[in-house]
Symmetry: C2
Subunit: 213 residues, 2 copies
DNA sequence: CCCTTTCTTCACCACCTGATGAAGAACACG
DNA sequence: CGTGTTCTTCATCAGGTGGTGAAGAAAGGG
């Protein structure tokens, strides 16, 4: 429909986009800080210097706003792409470094927002799980190709989740105030071990699947 | 003071304790499932078959109820004690096995309750961090005695947090539906490596101690 | 019996929540 | 100018929130 954006149709289209983006920015900030449920539309509107009704005018519902705030399109992908660009040899370091650098840059990142909201909001949990599965687990598993790829990718997920929660959600020391390089020194070998280390022993039962490679 | 508890003073002290414990049980269940903020006093009261006012009669405020529900006295300690009972050789397996077995037994455990509530509730975050520091980090560090003990203990914390969040909060597959033995096979070596493996390389800057701040 | 203590319930409060509808202001076009 | 579109504000809604106060029902003791 109205794709122009600069001029053409009547109305006051300038301040509109401005307010909309300001709401979006504030929403990302507050959602990322307190999670979905603990952040009220009124709080966002007030912090953005805007009437609460405007939020609903632009985004319809609170969930619509959250969806727009959490929508990642062209934002995270480039960072993630660089992880899978290189080979398997140093992928552990690339995963940890990319994760921490991107999350350090801005705490209002969708990943943190979703991680904060997931325990409270079922939709956030589904979104986050879907994102992790599609963007990390599946790609890692495809990259490995081994029969135990899913298991190894899941172990990496645990590393990523643990690191994210410890550093950005719960801010546990000394993880919270460690430097990027220190975190890489700590966790890159672990992540690397998850992916390319010796296969986990399959002593018990048959669920473990035979460890080829 | 009225310390007796069995009989002596007038009044209907029997059903009182019964209702109080029923409220407490239901509160643990709901808090553990939805977190602090997303659980209303009325929901707890209704689920417990009790008038909402009774909750305030017994516990004063919602936070008082949460504090009572989350209060761990003699409940978690015995399980944790067994972790530190043995030597360092197989402590990785003991940590993972004890954690998963105890959390599998009942999802309404204080650890899960706090982990669910921490992102939303500042007090829960403080409580959980304090618990982890006192009961895990400090004891692990003391057990190791090495200069990099704090760093190693922190790495174990990340493993514990990641495993807890992946299995009980976000229920990521295949972690969520893996057996205890499978999880031990996966993560016990990692945890063991955190504690007794070769020290993290300190290629950059100083020894890692004086990095932050 | 009465009386005290404990438990239980009901009615109610002020406040905040997400959301709606209509009226009004800013703007660009004809 | 007027007109139509977009943006902004206001008043308001129903419903849920944590929390309170008083009155009533059991249970005991004297």
């Amino acid at each position: 429909m109205t794709e122009d954006g600069t001029h053409g149709r009547p109305g006051r289209w300038r301040s509109g986009a401005e307010s909309k983006q300001r709401i979006l920015r504030t929403a990302r900030e507050l959602f990322g800080e307190h999670g979905y449920r603990a952040t009220s539309v009124r709080a966002i509107a007030t912090a953005a210097g805007v009437d609460p009704a405007m939020v609903f005018y632009f985004f319809g519902t609170k969930q619509g706003l959250f969806g727009a705030a959490v929508d990642m399109s062209g934002d995270v992908p480039p960072a993630i792409e660089s992880i899978f660009a290189g080979g398997l040899g140093t992928i552990g370091e690339r995963i940890v470094r990319t994760l921490v650098e991107n999350l350090d840059k801005s705490g209002r990142t969708p990943l943190v927002m979703l991680t904060r909201s997931a325990p409270t909001d079922a939709r956030s949990e589904a979104l986050l799980r879907e994102f992790i599965d599609r963007e990390i687990t599946d790609r890692l598993a495809a990259m490995l190709g081994t029969p135990d790829a899913a298991r190894r990718a899941a172990m990496v997920n645990v590393q990523i989740l643990g690191l994210t929660v410890a550093r950005y959600i719960m801010r546990i020391e000394p993880i919270a105030s460690a430097s990027v390089d220190e975190l890489v020194d700590m966790f890159a070998p672990l992540v690397q071990h998850c992916l390319t280390g010796p296969p986990p022993r399959t002593t018990r039962g048959g669920t473990g699947r035979s460890a080829a490679e």
